[in-house]
Amino acid sequence: MEHGSSLVDFAASLVESSRTLVDDLEVWTARERTHSVRIENQSLSPRLAGQKLRVGIRTLKEGMIGYGALMELDLKTALRAVKRALGRGCPANLDRFGSCRLLSDPVSADRALVEMADKPSALYEMAGALRDRTYEVAGTSIDSLSGEVRLEVREIAVTTQGGSTRFSNAAVQGVAAVDNVMEEYYWTTGGSVDRRAVAELGAEAFRALQRPRVAPEELKLRGSVPVILHPRLLESLLRILGSEKFSGSAHLAGLSHHKPADEVADPAVTLWDDATEPTGTLRRPVDDEGTPCRRHPLIEGGRFGRHIWSQSSARRAGVEPTGHGYRRPILIEEPQEAPVREKLSALAMEPGEMRLDQLIGETGNGLLVYDLLALHTADQARASFSCAVLCGFSIEGGKISRVLTPGRWNLSGHLFDLDGRPGFLREVRLSSERIHTGSAHLPYLKTRLAV
């Protein structure tokens, strides 16, 4: 795939062609290919995607902002969209869009992964190896295996009257779920894919489940219970419950009352967000408005860091944008038609000093939880959740013991203090090892949650 030049050329032509119509024009363009091979027990289903183009347009004219979207690089259609956007403008907070500039060293997708997009048979082979290895290890002892090997290649360019910027990224991801409970993941954004690691995913998930199951009434754990959160679950909790609490526009709307330096967490908690983190799947130099991304403190030594800001919300607050303006789609929205909303990017947390096995050992009786069911339905206004456990293990006598019977355990808590009750970050222990989920680099976190 050619690196971005045609996206920039198209957008620059559109900006030029509409110069007399607008005060400024922002053209967000994306070109993507996503191939996957689904695994359903013994069956493999290749699902390919040819090149898809996305164009999101924002116009500024006399203090009004307009929007349009299309899925082709056609100048005539795009100009029509510009004119329709101008006819339906709304009051704008901005005078100009961002001043984008072509980067001398843009983030570039790994060439080997880009070339794999033209040879999807490699994904098919990896999915087949995963399936075969799982059944070799598990035999007929599993009810179901489902999974996927997936390749995503994406180029994004942002162009305004102030210039253009562009980058590309690519990732291969593998996932295997055994008995609809335990999932194991693999991801890479560069170099060769570790095919052996992909092949082992199902077998690893199977091995993890080779323990008896335990229901809540057997363990007699109720009320406030020590719980160790797997980094994958911790990431989900931080993203879903934190999405409004760290958002600058939510702060302006009165939905997030924390101020910088407010004490919100255990002093051991230092959490930041950094889309430029070099290895992750979210790596990018700029947000969807062309604002440069950088390391951004969310919680520092237990104190609230700074809110995240898009161009528009930053202008309203009188602060600098932080590179968190994203075309974040919700439900049936496509990225090109989604409004620019603030969004957390790659998360990272400082590790602690105890190894995971020590954390488990000092826990005595408690839970190690990997995944919750329906976490997306959490109460974002209050940053609280109450969900059934989808995947987790009991800790009994300081050792991982049994599999939590799916659907029988319920956990609840909240990110920050609420109605006089402490948030789950308030008193924590962090593991010294961190796991990189692809989109976050986090330790295991031990806290107390209501069971």
Binding site: R38, N41, S45, P46, R47, L48, G50, Q51, K52, L53, I65, Y67, G68, L70, M71, E72, T77, R80, A81, R84, A85, G87, R88, G89, C90, D118, S121, Y124, G128, D143, S144, D179, N180, S249, A250, A253, G254, L255, S312, S313, I330, I332, E334, E337, R341, L373, A374, H376, T377, A378, D379, A381, R382, S386, C387, A388, G407, R408, N410, S412
Partner: protein, 509 residues
């Protein structure tokens, strides 16, 4: 239903489809194609107060399914472009088709009624040619004005409440073409209009939220009367805001109060339980992969009866209170699915016994049953088995009262659950966030409201405790169901439903 209209750019789309099918035919035993073109006008009111009005957005995609010998199969999603630009990707898919292993279980059932070609209706106003975004802006302005009025009224009573309404509203027209290399040709033109209000209330440091959604497979005019929201929808908006305020500072049920509950009563707005705990388990692709809690992979029911004999459960076009089908209504309804199969109402459960399941063409072939129009794709993605409108309906009149008051009259300690923020399912059961509950004490609904609760329901046993129903079934619980990276509009509903508490149902925090 009358014959549907032609697509707006049908000749060009058909030419492209013909070229694709002609190209792949020599290397396939079968191929079919879905093309979807969506034109939309949309408004977002963000929580920041920023208004985003999109007068026009256009999107389109094609899905091509290629089947080779011995069940080999590959599917590819393409953007809309000239045949020459799509050809390299098609060739790549054909090359892969030659490499993949046989899949002897794979096949596609025939499309019933292949001769009928056109479905749907022409929208009015037609947003493909008319900028109707002003109507959506009027809705947003009305919602903002309602928020101001509610806050002003409370200010007169000495309360300083801030309401932050977040609105998402759209009107779209989806045009669909389904063709195969054996001559199948079907089209559908379908408008849809939708409004979502997320109302957040704030008083000092207390925050609470509620959400409503309304919409149908209708044009924008369906919601408006003289440029304003119809009174029924205005009332929903006002009610949503007032409820978010009522939830400020509400308490939690104590452990003792939770343990003494003998019954829960689900309002129609809390029926996501039917979609999650039951509906997904009837999707035949989930059954085939051994992910259903109700069937084994061979398609045998895991339990009989599944539920109380009072219960019928359906998926398909909705019905009125007398059970008469409303074939052209329902936010989840389409006339044909994305494989060209006409949508059927499927009786999933009748009098508590399992009687059906949901199919696309592939699962219908696998189970040697007739496809029933439940194979859907999100904009050119793979077609998987999906629900449309899923609802409970009383199997008889004997346990169906007119009023909610009658239904709860002999409940000692219970709770009425209303609203949901969605849910998710596993093989064993489901979990959903209920917006709020109202306590029932000694046969009467109290004024005590309790804020968000979690309802967990086991798939097996969930319907067994149903003891009765009240009121006219409401099938307008709108949701967006996620499955395999795709999102599909659906509804769930039914009448007020009374369920005895058992170990299949857990309510808590």
């Amino acid at each position: 239903m009358t014959e549907g209209p032609v697509l707006s750019d049908e000749a060009a789309l058909k030419d492209l489809a013909d070229a694709i099918l002609d190209h792949v035919q020599p290397r396939c035993t079968y191929a079919d194609l879905l093309a979807e073109v969506v034109t939309k006008t949309e408004v977002n009111l963000l929580s920041s107060g920023e208004l985003v009005a999109k007068a026009y957005t256009g999107k389109a995609a094609i899905q091509v399914r290629m089947v080779g010998s011995e069940g080999r199969h590959v599917e590819i999603s393409l953007g809309l472009g000239s045949f020459e630009t799509l050809k390299p990707d098609l060739d790549g898919a054909l090359d892969l088709l030659a490499l993949v292993q046989p899949d002897p279980d794979y096949g596609l059932a025939d499309v019933p009624n292949p001769d009928r070609q056109r479905y749907g209706f022409t929208p009015d106003p037609d947003i493909r040619t008319t900028d109707a975004g002003g109507g959506l802006l009027a809705i947003v302005e009305e919602i903002q004005a309602t928020a101001r009025q509610v806050c002003d009224k409370l200010a007169e009573e000495g309360r300083t409440i801030q309401l932050v309404p977040e609105v998402w509203a759209y009107s779209l027209v989806e045009e669909k073409l389904v063709m195969d290399m054996r001559g199948l040709f079907k089209t559908q033109v379908l408008p849809t209009t939708f409004v979502q209000l997320l109302s957040r209330a704030r008083e000092n440091d207390k925050l609470a939220q509620t959400r409503i959604r309304f919409g149908d497979i209708r044009s924008l005019s369906h919601l408006l009367d003289g440029g304003h929201l119809k009174p029924a929808y205005s009332a929903l908006v006002c009610d949503c805001m007032e409820r978010s305020i009522a939830l400020l500072g509400t308490g939690r049920l104590t452990e003792a109060q939770l343990e003494e509950l003998t019954h829960i009563v689900l309002a129609p707005s809390a029926m996501v339980f039917i979609h999650e705990a039951q509906g997904h388990n009837f999707e035949a692709d989930i059954i085939q992969r051994n992910g259903s809690g109700l069937f084994d992979p061979q398609g045998n029911a895991a339990v009989d009866p599944l539920g109380s004999a009072l219960v019928d459960l359906y998926d398909g076009p909705p019905c009125d209170g007398e059970g008469r089908l409303l074939a052209d209504r329902g936010f989840g309804t389409q006339f044909i699915d994305d494989e060209g199969v006409e949508l059927q109402r499927v009786a999933l459960v009748q009098q508590g016994r399992i009687t059906g399941r949901l199919h696309n063409r592939q699962t219908a072939y696998y189970y040697q049953e007739t496809p029933n129009g439940h194979g859907f794709s999100e904009l050119g993605d793979i077609r998987v088995v999906r629900m449309t409108n899923t609802y409970l309906f009383p199997a008889d009149r004997a346990h169906w009262t007119d009023s909610l008051e009658e239904l709860v009259a002999d409940i000692g300690r219970g709770i009425l659950l209303e609203g949901s923020f969605g849910g998710a399912v596993s093989k064993e059961g489901m979990s959903t966030s209920i917006q709020f509950g109202r306590r029932i004490v000694d046969g009467r609904l109290t004024g005590e409201i309790f804020g968000p609760l979690n309802l967990t329901v086991k798939t097996l046993g969930a319907l067994a405790g149903i003891e009765g129903f009240a009121g006219v079934p409401d099938m307008e619980g709108i949701g967006f169901c996620g499955k395999e990276y795709q999102t599909k509009p659906v509804t769930d509903g039914g009448p007020y439903t009374r369920i005895a508490v058992s170990d299949a149902i857990t309510l808590g925090y």
